[in-house]
Symmetry: C2
Subunit: 460 residues, 2 copies
């Protein structure tokens, strides 16, 4: 049934060794956020480089940056084969609160075929899974594709030096498609290919009225209150149907296709469970869309924070000097962040009365991204999942952003396939992070099979 028989057999024959080695990888406390762990981060990079070398890579390096190093590796590059850029990260989140861990975070522990450790699913387990899928091919024959591995050590602190590295290593990183295993499946037993991400556009609104806070007895009723004006402006940004009122906000948004609606509708999405996970009293969003459609395919405009006047304990009867809001839009593919910020800014200026002063501070933006469903790489991933899981892959999107996907798109001009094998509830960033070993092994097999299909497609 599979077309990667020897590689898959090799993977199956080495479960014990791989589990042993993955645990060694997880024992290294590569917390990027804490400077005390600086040398552990470095040790982890060296461990990974060595292991890539053992796997049969012809290039395997630790590339220093001004922050944590990037581990880079290449298999033998054959110009007749397609080239795949694999991205992942070897750094992990801090472990606080430590007392909520059932087992020490850097002492990997296996219970009921689940591996508990910081980094098990996010992302060391998946990095290692990529590594062994390549090794299995190389130890048993010839890889059907050229692989390039880009593993960074700063993902959990905002990938500070990654973009610079990509920009200055464009020739080295030249590839046909990128593959990232750092996302979850849709649910347990529902392997998925994620083909769309939302982008972001942020700004801050500052409303200024009097020179300083005014006594609300002496002045109240005679000058505009900046908090009132801000409330009015913010309230004007959505209509009663939950739609953003900024003219042209939805102009570039694709109409949701019948196929996508059908795909999303067929997913085992439990709205009650989703609601419970938020703690909100009710679901709420743009009229005419389901919850998944709202999160995955519709742009939003959210106030992330706002403040004005006296916010301490007790009471201060003032007219605040100013009022402020931090706003960000989640964008969908084809919305241009600059264009959206222009439109939002223009609308805000129109809404603001002359009784106060308005200042807008524009923040950064990043477009959304989408890899077409019929892209050969997407279809190869779907076939690989079919082979290994004996299931049709779910076509999913995500409401968040993965900045490196945007960089791959805008700098390297390549699409990305997001093929992850974690589960949504495996406690990334929280105590008792874990990874289902069944998905670890099957994930490695799926990736090994993906290389087969990508090679085959190139040949045909």
């Amino acid at each position: 049934m599979s077309h990667a028989t020897q590689a898959l057999s090799y993977l199956k024959d080495h479960h014990a060794q791989y589990l042993e080695e993955l645990q060694a990888f997880l024992r290294l406390p590569s917390i990027s956020a804490l400077s005390d762990y600086k040398s552990a981060v470095k040790d982890t990079a060296i461990w990974l480089k060595e292991r890539l070398h053992q796997a049969g890579m012809v290039v395997s390096r630790v590339d220093e940056t001004e922050g944590n190093p990037i581990v880079y590796a290449e298999t033998d590059q054959d110009p007749t084969k397609p080239t795949i850029l694999v991205y992942g990260h070897y750094d992990v989140q801090p472990v606080d609160p430590l007392d909520q861990w059932t087992h020490p975070p850097f002492t990997p522990t296996i219970t009921d075929n689940i591996l508990y450790a910081r980094g098990a699913s996010d992302d060391k387990g998946q990095v290692y899974m990529q590594l062994i899928a390549a090794e299995a091919w190389m130890k048993t024959g010839t890889l059907p594709v050229n692989l390039k591995f880009l593993f960074e050590g700063e993902e959990e602190i905002g990938s500070i030096h990654l973009d610079d590295y990509i920009r200055s290593h464009q020739d080295q990183l030249h590839a046909d498609v990128a593959v990232i295993s750092d996302t979850p499946m849709f649910a347990d037993g529902v392997p998925a290919v994620c083909y769309g991400l939302r982008g972001l556009a942020a700004l801050e609104v500052h409303i200024e009225g009097p020179r300083q806070d005014l006594h609300s007895g002496v002045f109240g009723g005679a000058v505009a209150n900046p908090a009132h004006v801000l409330a009015q402006i913010l309230a004007s940004l959505h209509d009663s149907e939950g739609r953003v009122t900024v003219p042209g906000f939805y102009d570039a948004v694709d109409t949701l296709s019948a196929t996508e609606r059908e795909n999303f509708g067929s997913l085992p999405f439990d709205a009650t469970e989703f609601l419970a996970s938020t703690g909100s009293p009710a679901l709420y969003g743009e009229s005419g869309y389901t919850t998944l459609e709202r999160i995955w395919t519709r742009p939003t405009l959210e106030v992330n924070g706002m403040w004005s006047g006296f916010i301490g304990e007790g009471r201060k009867t003032i007219i605040p000097q100013s009022a402020h809001a931090k706003i960000s839009c989640r964008l969908v593919p084809h919305q241009d962040p600059d264009d959206i910020l222009d439109r939002v800014e223009e609308y805000l200026r129109q809404q603001c009365p002359p009784t106060v002063r308005l200042r807008i501070e524009r923040g950064e933006g990043a477009p959304g991204s989408v890899t077409p469903l019929d892209h050969p790489a997407t279809q190869a991933a779907v076939q690989a999942i079919r082979d290994i899981y004996h299931k049709e892959a779910a076509y999913i999107r995500m409401g968040g952003s993965i900045p490196v996907v945007v960089t791959f798109d805008t700098v390297l001009h390549i699409p990305t396939v997001l093929l992850g094998f974690a589960l949504p509830n495996e406690n990334f960033h929280a105590p008792n992070e874990h990874f289902h070993l069944d998905n670890f092994y099957k994930g490695a097999e799926t990736v090994a099979t993906l290389w087969h299909y990508l090679g085959e497609r190139a040949e045909s």
Copy 2:
């Protein structure tokens, strides 16, 4: 012309002594807000009690409270005469920023007949002015009224123990009318009787959505954002004419009489100067009213502070867990604070959608107060001003609250005449506080004359 000839002559003959003594009073650094000045506050109370005794009071005491003492004094009480309760405070504001004072704050300095010192106008100068007006009568004959003096030492820190004192000394404080000299005249050369104050009703609004801040990528678009809901609710509290939209909010508000409008319209009010003093780009308020009418006679609803989500530096793309606002209403006479809070609360509950939870925390309230223009005490003050200043008094109101006036009204059931001789720009609470000595002397004469008219009215 005056009917208090001997008392007025006595005052004029003792300018030098009074100026000397007032400076001694001002040298005592009675800062109530700073515990380092605790003993200075006590020394000031004792100084004042001694001086009241010298003036001829038959009762003169320092009454301890759990905070700073209250100085209480009485003239000889004749049951055939009306009784006046005089209130003032001997504590002062802190002096920071000290480097902005031209002269040391507790080294009184006279320049161009203006006395510079902390407390000169707020309120030691006016307390002492009340004292010498009584002394002048007692040294030259018989007071036409019974006087009771209530001078507290905690006005600048919220009169913490005053209400308790008044409640537990109702017999002692029994009087026909209260007189307070702790307010400014309308402007230089415009002596005024203040006959109305606004009240206050406060509450806090808490909107809660999800259990904790949510990732705006993962959840954005699917649950209500508490900051949006708060903005919508706050925006709904005013209409486009600047009116409060809460049903019944204006029900108890008196229609402004033609006389009042005429009085206010005739005052030398400079809107440009007023606007400049705020620093706001424009005046703004309820349609159909002038600025003075808006501040003095119309109720308001102001957001004093609001906060939600992430308000630090940078950006955090979240849906905030909650959003909060501190609101206070300035009330005009006849509006009942509880009734207003009921109405505002009910309206807020109606405006809040079921997608979030609303919690309202009611704060304290105090009614506004007004002493009728034709009240004998008001008219006596007007006549006294006419005698001394050779001018018609301005009938003014104030937009703020003076809590003790409410206590006199609700506990002692007496009206209050606000007869102050400071000027609005004499830097109360700021560096270089001062008091025009001309108004100090004329103020004492006006008060002495007021006792005459109040006694005469009681006789007739």
